[in-house]
Symmetry: C3
Subunit: 352 residues, 3 copies
């Protein structure tokens, strides 16, 4: 079960270039993305209406896309504008097109009711193209249900174990209860670890603070579209970071992590991890991304293994909830509510 | 659903040599082919009656085939003629054997009612061993339903797109309506493209005609056994080819293409592409086969991708028919009719 | 369907060393094996009670096992002894642990009712650590139902065919009727081949006897746990071996072969092949194991192919029984009876 009336990240902007075609599945539907000659992104179903050949084996021609099996041509709205051997194409050969917005270096697609596709609903990820921050857009494919990745991100206690030698480095993370708040369709989680002896391992060799530190992870999980935005960092202990005062020596980061369901067993994971210091140090940006990737690969190993165990578990096997699951449980309940609302049509404004 | 009462191409003659055993599935049934010492082809089910070991892991002994698990021996008719540890084999250990004919460099097998297996029903493919023609027998495996390959062959409009740079080379192919006729269980398609500026790309460097040409594809699809035989070629424009006069400068070809269903999702594709000029130019024969293979690989990429899209399409998704589908639609209807007749037993002559 | 109330070989002792964790499935259940600091083997379900992460991605800490996803810690009995972020772990987070015995170089696990797990029921395989015998513990994975391997082992007539050039070497094996006895849950098979001209091929270059020989295979298949123990060998013909007199020139072997079902389509196969002569000749031990492995790989090829044929056979296809199947049929009937008894609870002593 997937939310449909929301913007899903389909691809990084750079993944669709020139006349190139990108095939990617979202919530089980095969999509093809391309750009018009003017550079505007378009998304169609990746299935010709004629004999079901994939349009991603086709060819961009001007602003249109030609199926290279029998030559039908479709415009960005999915209308069939050319049918070889016939003067006018039959109107019933149209295919589905999807609302698209390109923003924050990402191409977003709306899988639900098109009339609801308000561009203002694209979650804010402006840090990705804000000149005050520097990051590298990255992608990981997961052989796992998107909800397992959501679980992972809503419970950072796993940093102490999965990421013991990378993103975590301290048992305090698992032992500190976070503040969990829900604001409409967003779960907000605030985690402070005060007076820690050292930076997280992934920062060693990347940046430096002398003496003990205060660390934080403050992030919001926006359920429609599965978008996480996080303010995180470390400051010299006792310099007021928890109270909102961030001294110049503080190391501050902004991460964006987005999970787009491919289907019930696979997910797309888009991420960036920005820093707002040493902006022109490309080696730093690169090294930081490498360290984060190392951590994210640890998640991937664990979550994909977890998916396999779940697949093989008998039907009556039930997961147990423990104290640290508060964030995860909040997220799951919110998702269930939104799914139920969407099914009952409550998410559709009355005037529609 | 497959036709059963017909001859299917099982293998090229050269694929079963000496004491070698060939395992191949036809319409979902595992078969093993071998030759007697006298060289006669025999086909048995590839499953020992005893413990279901595959006989293709067995050994030819004289004119018989021994299962190399527990040693049972079967003759070409499937009778069990030796059972280790027992003086006379039990008669109920017999396995199924299949009527076989070897003709036109192919071993043909009859999957249906044996009493109907009339060798005269083997479709005419005599060009393959006619000294007036030269070709190389070739095989391609398809991960696709045989009907998708049939669709492809019954609609040459795809030559303009799939084979733009190989077998096609002209939009005229897609834009010219073919003549479609049905003669009993055969669909006959006639395509003429007159006064074309140039030869098809696949002929460049293989053969030559100066000036504009008339091109043709005239072929018959014989539904029982899925056998296509095609007369094709190019002649200097205006020299009377469309009226039946073929000048010596004309380049004439005869292609045979046969699709044998392996199961509902896989197919065997046997093909040859003969020329009747420069018969002793082995380099020409070889180069021509290479060019054709290049084109057929383009089909394979498209059709296997199409199969994947079909597999993932929701149940209510329906293919749309367009004007160029006349041949394809004719073929599909004929197949449906023959399948229905076979199920109702109408295909069985009354005296049987 | 699997027997549950029996000891299954889970692993060779050397497969679980130091702080290492071994993941292995038995009768469809994912298990993780580890050793305490004292070296005692423990087996838990390989699935954390919390979010179903595999514990085999965890870490041994002292005598306990920590899940490295969210940090829960379990003892050898499956009790959850630590839950990060909570003073006392919730008692309902316990996971299943399994009775374990380590004996004869193997770790044995009991998959059924724990109160029935009597260590005295571990089948006798003492030859594996008896100083009078020398062997190498070995493992083969099978993509096949355990019953197909059982069939294979209960009918040595296949030695004449599958192992014609390795373990067999004589048609006499297939043609000689064995003595088959059943003692409680054990099938005992006695095979004598007298006055054979030569040793089996696998012994060529390994050991030697001049002149004709008497060969024997005398083995017991213990159904609970699928454990085969075999006395086999060759002696100079006419020196009284069949009557129980084994001259010093006789070549004697003791093989143990154990089949542990992984699931309905896969099996673990543990084996050793001991000799009681030239005990200090490591090259001999090694060469003998290599020759046996060659033979066992022949079984694997045949049985895995047989499994594929069975998987694809239509539901109404029935295997035929022949004269040599007496041992196999006896085994299958015994298995069916024990399975039925276990399902009806008859295997559980009344006092429990």
């Amino acid at each position: 079960m997937f939310l449909k009336n929301c913007w899903y990240a389909l691809a990084w902007s750079h993944e669709v270039q020139g006349a190139g075609l990108l095939a990617r599945k979202v919530i089980g539907q095969p999509l093809v993305a391309y750009r018009t000659e003017g550079g505007e992104a378009a998304v169609l179903i990746d299935r010709c209406s004629h004999r079901f050949a994939p349009l991603s084996l086709g060819r961009r021609e001007g602003d249109t896309l030609r199926c290279m099996y029998h030559g039908l041509v479709f415009d960005t709205q999915g209308a069939c504008v050319l049918e070889p051997g016939r003067k006018r194409p039959s109107p019933n050969m149209a295919i589905r097109s999807y609302p698209v917005v390109e923003r924050y270096k990402l191409i977003w697609v709306w899988m639900g009711e098109p009339s609801l596709a308000d561009p203002d609903l694209v979650p804010d990820c402006h840090w990705q193209d804000d000149p005050a921050w520097r990051s590298i857009p990255a992608y990981i494919h997961y052989k796992a249900d998107y909800r397992l990745i959501m679980d992972n991100l809503l419970d950072f206690s796993h940093l102490s174990f999965v990421h013991e030698n990378t993103l975590g480095g301290s048992l305090a993370i698992a032992e500190t209860a976070p503040l969990i708040e829900q604001i409409d369709k967003t779960v907000r989680i605030t985690r402070w670890y005060r007076n820690e002896p050292d930076l997280a391992p992934y920062l060693k060799g990347v940046a430096e603070i002398q003496g003990p530190i205060d660390r934080w992870n403050i992030y919001e999980w926006h359920m429609p579209g599965n978008v996480l935005n996080m303010d995180s960092g470390s400051a010299p202990a006792g310099t007021g970071a928890p109270e909102g005062h961030r001294v110049p020596e503080a190391l501050q980061f902004h991460a964006t992590q987005i999970v787009t369901p491919e289907d019930g067993k696979n997910s797309h994971f888009f991420w960036s991890y920005g820093h707002n210091f040493n902006l022109d140090d490309a080696v730093l940006t690169d090294r930081l991304a490498g360290r984060i990737l190392e951590g994210f690969e640890e998640d991937k190993v664990m979550i994909e293994a977890q998916q396999l165990v779940i697949d093989q578990a008998p039907d009556d096997a039930r997961m147990g909830y423990i104290l640290v699951d508060a964030g995860l449980a909040r997220g799951r309940r919110l998702l269930e509510r939104l799914l139920a609302e969407e099914q009952q049509g409550l998410a559709v404004p009355a005037e529609h």
